[in-house]
Symmetry: C2
Subunit: 115 residues, 2 copies
């Protein structure tokens, strides 16, 4: 069905951008990528590991996250955590998100003054 293809493309686009918001929201505590995938999945947000890794690196290069390797555990893991800048941006982004959500909801309200 072609309809489904179009729809899933649009859904893909919808998710886009929100992923950063999701990731940032969870990184108050140092967390490694693989774990983050699971945390988000539990909360209904599915993101592929190989989509997440480049994202984490990008956010780090933008100064929103900082990372450190921990080798004392069984497997070497790279822990990421929000920087102060990351925190500020996360908050600003969330605020923007909330207002976007309100605006979009309003689009479905019936306009009483129509015409």
């Amino acid at each position: 069905m072609v309809k489904d293809e179009v729809l899933s493309g649009l859904i893909l686009e919808l998710r886009r951008g929100t992923i950063v918001l999701c990731v940032l929201s969870q990184l108050n505590e140092p967390t490694y990528g693989y774990n983050l995938v699971n945390i988000l999945a539990e909360k209904g947000i599915n993101i592929e590991a190989n989509t997440l890794y480049p994202l984490l690196r990008r956010l780090e290069s933008q100064g929103l996250l900082e990372s450190s390797w921990v080798t004392s555990e069984a497997k070497p893991r790279k822990y990421y955590v929000k920087t102060q800048k990351g925190n500020e941006i996360c908050n600003a982004l969330k605020q923007h998100w909330d207002s976007m959500v309100r605006n979009i909801d309003r689009l479905w309200e019936v306009d009483i003054n129509e015409k």
Copy 2:
């Protein structure tokens, strides 16, 4: 400030994808592009005309919209309206949007069972 550049980039990405939803939501009645820009702007959603036009064409090529030129008025205008398929997809997308919004909201809830 570099922070603002990063932030506006992320906001850009956040908007992305939602634009289709916004546009579809308003096309129950035949409307032309320029007018649609104004309608959305009134409702707090700003989109450049030259961003909208390619989008309308794309949605038409995907079968979600259909268009017709109206030349009887002062200026020739191209009116777009949702097709039935467009309507179905719009509804499905909105449903998906709502559940995404709920999931994301939940990310900010404090987890009582933490640890």
